[in-house]
Structure formats: structure tokens, C-alpha cells
Amino acid sequence: MNTTSPISGRILVVEDDRRMADSLVSGLTGYGYQVSLARTGEEAFFLVHSTQPDLVLLDLTLPKRGGLEILAQIRAEQLPTRVLILTSHNSVDDRVTGLNSGADDYLGKPFSFPELLARVASLLRRLPAPPRSASLQIADIHIDTKAHLVSRSGTPIDLTPREYDLLLYLLEHRNQAVSREMLAKDVWRETSRFTPIDNVIDVQMARLRRKIDDPFTTKLLLTLRGVGFILREPEQ
């Protein structure tokens, strides 16, 4: 259960929209993070220095002092804080501007909460990508990442390369919901946000489920309606 236990970390949410801020704070707190909130740029400056957060979730459009200004300040003072930009300006240019200004990551609004959690976890682990161990396991599913072999309860399962990638991704995000957007981006490598492949993902997921779940009594791969999918370890 080590991956479900939240990674401890101090997070500063800089967001002026009250509802958005509240849901971010409660959502992240629910996953065990110590979250503080700043609604204005000035407050953010103060809290960056007083609480020394490990990660700042930064909205770019703030009253008084803009998000990019705060980011520039953090970088100028060489604080060890990681910065994840959250913004509704989703064009490639904005993204490039944000990352060029020294942000560690960039997430466009509206984002799916599972994706935010995945990004936050990854940033707090301070690793660009978690190293892939030679074998991964959830319940009785076993993946040999070297030989690309999958088995459940010792029965080898023959997967297509895409199904294998999908399962690996779900396993790396075990016990976390993954949205279709995350899958489109990370497994299918679709860069365009408007790519109507949701049914491709659904069908692919159904086929994977047929292979890894249908012949077995314990179901591990679940659909969360409206959210996405989750590969969950059975509750004991």
C-alpha cells in the first residue's frame, strides 16, 4: 500500500477563484498534503517566504501581481520550490512562456483532478519519471517490464503493444483514477486536445478488461463514470 500513502509535502495554492481554491485545498488535503492558500499575489509572496512550500500551484491570472511575476521572483531568489502553473490560457505559446519562465510543469484548466494529483506526486518526488523496475505487480497481476510479459495468477496473458502500454500506465498509477485525457496524452501520445478518440480508449479498455479481468473473479480494472478508469487493488 506504499503508493496510496500520500507523499508528504507542503503545497501553496495560489488561486483567486474561491471555489476553485477551496476544491484544490480540500482535494489535496484529502490526499495528505499540507496545503496553504493565497488568494492574491502579495499573499503568495508572503506565504512563499514564511511557509517555504515544496510546491506552488500557481494561477497565472491574479489580481495585483501576476502569476508570472511571482514565478520570476521565486526563481530570482533561487528558492527550492517547485512550481506547477494552472491556467485557462491553454495555447502552446502560453505553455512555452510559462515553462520558459521557470515553471516545472503546466496544466491547463479545466484539468481532471486525477491528472493534477499525478503531476503533483511526480513533482514532489522530484523525479522527472519514476524509474521502471524490472517487474511490477498488483494483486495477482505480474508484469515483467524487460520481457514485456504479463501474467495473472501465473497464467500468461497475451497483450497487444497498446494494451501492454495501457496496463503499464494503469499499474504505475495504481489506486489512482486516470482520466481519458491522461490516457490520450500519455498512452496514445495525442498532442491535439481536440481528438475524438474517447471511444477508441473505451474500446481498448474493454479489450484489456476482457483479457485481464473477465476470466477471473476479482475485478481490478474499474470504470469510474465521468472520471475515467482505475486499477485498484482488491480490499482485503
Binding site: F194, T195, P196, V200, Q204, L224, G226
Partner: protein, 479 residues
């Protein structure tokens, strides 16, 4: 020196015109002056020769042995006074035999030159004792068997006076001509530039609210008319862009309201009574699904506006159409397999040239069309993709047709399917509901690349989408 640099074009034109004109006039006057002077001098020389030949015959020695000029031919004695010729006759020893009164006793040309007057007229210029410039010729002629040297000259003073007079006349006339030319050029350029003033004042009045107004073009063929037309084209494009923006806003508002209404009513209904947890879960899931739909609509609308702007700033790459279609088919493979659809690809003299376009946008366009075809194909049916070429107005186009065996397109909806947010009135296929933007996006992208897309109308079963894309005539960069 700032006052010499007037800001308006007509003054500048007038000043330039006057400056150039005065330079040309000056050069012209100098040339004419020199030419005229030389010409007149030649004429005098010529007259002198004529005169010397005449005078020769009139010279005679009187009974005292002194040389005389015959004067008896004058009808009026006072006519003699009109003669201003200067003449001196010497014998070959240099003794002066005769002098005209006009010389007033002064010598003409001094001592004799060697061989003077033998082979030529020895034309030369000399100065009399009183300072008068004289053009002089010499000629040796026997008078009654005795050779004499005749020197004959005319004073240059009258010529110089006349040339000076001519010069002063030009000096006075030139500034008057220049001033007149300046005024005329000023008023002509003002008249020529008048349309510019009216165009400017008209353009100043055009704002976002009256973008349909156009600049009045008086003469469409001249430069200003051309500029007016260019400005009008600009206004037209602006107006179109503005209309597109307005349409985008209206479409967006309409299409975003629908899922919002659904989210709102789901929330309201759910909270009216206490319900079991599963019911809340159900409601929230429904709301999240609607959010996804909202999100897709927004992404689609943004993609539309991106595709609309693509003409100006896209960086086209060169790629092969078949290769792109295969990439998309790989993406859709799982759907194709699941529904046991057979994809048949046929090549009918397909061109070998690559396509030059924004690949990622073209991919979105073709993905939308192919995805639709797969979506509407019944299980175990055939999807036929034919690559070929077509010639239009002398240009070769890629032609790709995608023929599915689905329900097809209802009569009268062949064009409307490309409208934004179009949903068929005939096929109430909610299972197929998408954002309603896929085909609009596809058409916009293909249009912007100089191609065309349409559904063939007389197709018996299914829908047949035909796409034409131009083969670039430019040297294409290889991607």
C-alpha cells in the same frame, strides 16, 4: 532648414518639380547660349568672306596712285554711313594703302603675319586701340596687277550686346516660368491627391460598427484607385474576421449552454430530496460527463479558430497522404477490429507527390472524417478508401474518397453536415453524438489548404466523403 522640408506631399512634389525644371532650364539656356554665339560668329565670318570678295572688286588706284574704294554705286549718299565694316589694305611691304573711316586712323591687326591671306582667310580675333573686339579676316588680292593684303573685320560689340540682351531676357523670363510651373505642379498634384484626402477621411470614419462601409474609389485603374481597392479588400477581410468572431461567440454560447443546463438541472433535481449515496454518485458522474462534453466543445471551438487563422502563420511540412491515413487507421484499428469492419484501400493513379500542409491540422481533419466513417459503419461492413487524382483548372489534386456502409446522409443534408453543431433531423442517433464540430473543423482545415470536401449525393448505400487536396506547385521541403 526645417521650413525647406514641407510635410505635405503636394508641396514637396511642387518643390521637386521646380528644382528639376530649373536645373534643366539652366543647362538648356547655357547650351543654347553657347550654340547661338558660335553660330552667329560663324555667320559673321561667312559675311566677312562675302564682303571681302565684294570689296576686292571695288578697290582701285586713282590717278595719284593711292588706293580708293568705289563709292559711286550708292543710290543715296547717306547709305555710306550704314557701313560699319572695318578695312585696312596694305601692300606686301606692309605699308598701309587704305583705311576705312570707321577705324578712325587706328591700325587693324598690326604687322602682317607670314603668309597672311595667301592660303586661308586667317580668321582671328583682335582688339583695336580703343578696346573694341574685332573678328578679322585677311585676304591677298591683286588690284590692277598689284597684290595687296586686304584686312576686313567687324566689331563684335553689337553681337556681344545682343547676346547680353538675350541673356537678360532669359534671366527675367526663367524665374517667372519657374514660379508658374511651381504653382501649376502644386495645383495639379493637389488635384491628383484629392482622392487620397477623401479616402483618408472615409477610412477614419470606419470602426467596428460599420466595417461594411467601403472607401469610394474614383478611378480604379490608377495608383490611388489601386490603393483604395487594397484597403477595401483589407476591410473586407477584417469584416469577415469580425463576422467569424461574432459567429464563434454565438455558436459557443449556444453550444455551451446545453451541457451547462444539463449540469444545472441534474444538480438541482438531485438536491431536492435526500437520496441514497448511489444516486448522488450517479448524478455527479452525469455532471462530470457533461463537463467533459463542455470541455471538448471548447477545445473544438478553439481548434476552429486556430484553423481559421492558419493561413497566415502555419508552417507547412511535406508528407504523404497515404502515410497520414495509415497512421490514423492504426489509431482507429481497435474500433475497426472490434466492429469487424473491413477496410479496403484502392489506388487509382494516385499521384506520387507529397502534400504540403500543416500536418497536425490535416491529421485532425482526416481523423474526424475517418472516425465518423468508422463510427457510422455497421458491424462486419466494408469501409472503402480510394486514393486517386483529379484535375481542376489545370491543377492536379489528390483525391481521396472514404465510403462507408452506414446509414448515409439524409437528402438535403449533404451540405448542412459541415455546419457547426449540425445534428441530423433524420437520424436521431444520440449514440453517435459528438461535439458537432468534427466535420466543420475538417472542412475549414481542408478549405484553408486550398482543397475541398463534400459528400457525394447519389450514393446508394452509406456515405461517401470525397476530399480533394492540391498538389503543391512550390518546391516542397521534405519533412
Amino acid at each position: 532648414m526645417k521650413f525647406l522640408r514641407p510635410t505635405n506631399i503636394r508641396s514637396r512634389l511642387a518643390i521637386w518639380f521646380v528644382a528639376i525644371l530649373s536645373t534643366i532650364l539652366l543647362l538648356y539656356i547655357s547650351a543654347v547660349f553657347v550654340f547661338q554665339y558660335v553660330l552667329l560668329q560663324r555667320q559673321i565670318f561667312h559675311d566677312e568672306i562675302q564682303d571681302v570678295e565684294t570689296v576686292e572688286g571695288l578697290l582701285y588706284f586713282d590717278q595719284h596712285g593711292s588706293l580708293q574704294l568705289e563709292q559711286g554705286y550708292h543710290t543715296h549718299q547717306q547709305s555710306r554711313l550704314l557701313e560699319d565694316r572695318l578695312m585696312e589694305v596694305r601692300d606686301l611691304a606692309g605699308n598701309v594703302l587704305y583705311r576705312t573711316d570707321t577705324l578712325k586712323g587706328a591700325t587693324l591687326g598690326g604687322t602682317a603675319l607670314p603668309d597672311e591671306g595667301i592660303h586661308s582667310y586667317n580668321e582671328r580675333s583682335t582688339t583695336l586701340a580703343d578696346g573694341t573686339r574685332v573678328l578679322l579676316i585677311s585676304h591677298i588680292h591683286p588690284v590692277q596687277g598689284k597684290p595687296v593684303l586686304i584686312r576686313l573685320g567687324y566689331s563684335m560689340a553689337p553681337l556681344h550686346d545682343r547676346m547680353l540682351y538675350f541673356f537678360f531676357l532669359l534671366l527675367v523670363a526663367t524665374p517667372i516660368a519657374l514660379v508658374a510651373a511651381g504653382f501649376i505642379s502644386y495645383s495639379v498634384s493637389r488635384r491628383a491627391l484629392r482622392p487620397l484626402v477623401s479616402m483618408a477621411s472615409r477610412a477614419e470614419q470606419i470602426t467596428a460598427s460599420n466595417l461594411h462601409d467601403r472607401i469610394v474609389v474614383e478611378n480604379p485603374d490608377d495608383e490611388l484607385g489601386h490603393m483604395g481597392r487594397v484597403l477595401n479588400h483589407l476591410l473586407e477581410r477584417l469584416q469577415q474576421a469580425f463576422a467569424q468572431l461574432q459567429r464563434f461567440t454565438a455558436d459557443a454560447a449556444h453550444e455551451l449552454r446545453t451541457p451547462l443546463a444539463s449540469i444545472r438541472s441534474t444538480g438541482e433535481l438531485t438536491l431536492q430530496h435526500d437520496r441514497p449515496n448511489a444516486s448522488y454518485r450517479e448524478a455527479i458522474s452525469g455532471m462530470l460527463e457533461e463537463t467533459t462534453r463542455l470541455n471538448q466543445t471548447i477545445d473544438g471551438l478553439l481548434l476552429l479558430s486556430k484553423a481559421e487563422a492558419v493561413q497566415c502563420d502555419s508552417e507547412p511540412t511535406s508528407f504523404f497522404l497515404t502515410e497520414l491515413v495509415h497512421e490514423i487507421l492504426v489509431l482507429l484499428e481497435v474500433l475497426v477490429e472490434e466492429r469487424q469492419i473491413t477496410v479496403l484501400e484502392e489506388y487509382e493513379n494516385a499521384p506520387h507527390e507529397p502534400l504540403v500542409a500543416d500536418r497536425s491540422l490535416m491529421r485532425v481533419a482526416l481523423l474526424n472524417v475517418l472516425h465518423n466513417a468508422v463510427k457510422f459503419s455497421p458491424d462486419r461492413s466494408v469501409l472503402r478508401i480510394v486514393y486517386g487524382s483529379i484535375e481542376r483548372e489545370g491543377h492536379i489534386f489528390h483525391h481521396i474518397s472514404i465510403h462507408d456502409s452506414g446509414p448515409g446522409i439524409a437528402p438535403g443534408e449533404h451540405l448542412r453536415v459541415f455546419e457547426r453543431f449540425f445534428t441530423s433531423a433524420v437520424h436521431q442517433a444520440t449514440a453517435f453524438r459528438g461535439s458537432g464540430l468534427g466535420l466543420s473543423i475538417a472542412r475549414l482545415i481542408i478549405d484553408r489548404n486550398g482543397g475541398r470536401i463534400n459528400f457525394e449525393e447519389n450514393v446508394v448505400n452509406g456515405a461517401k466523403c470525397c476530399i480533394e487536396l492540391p498538389i503543391s506547385t512550390k518546391k516542397s521541403k521534405t519533412a
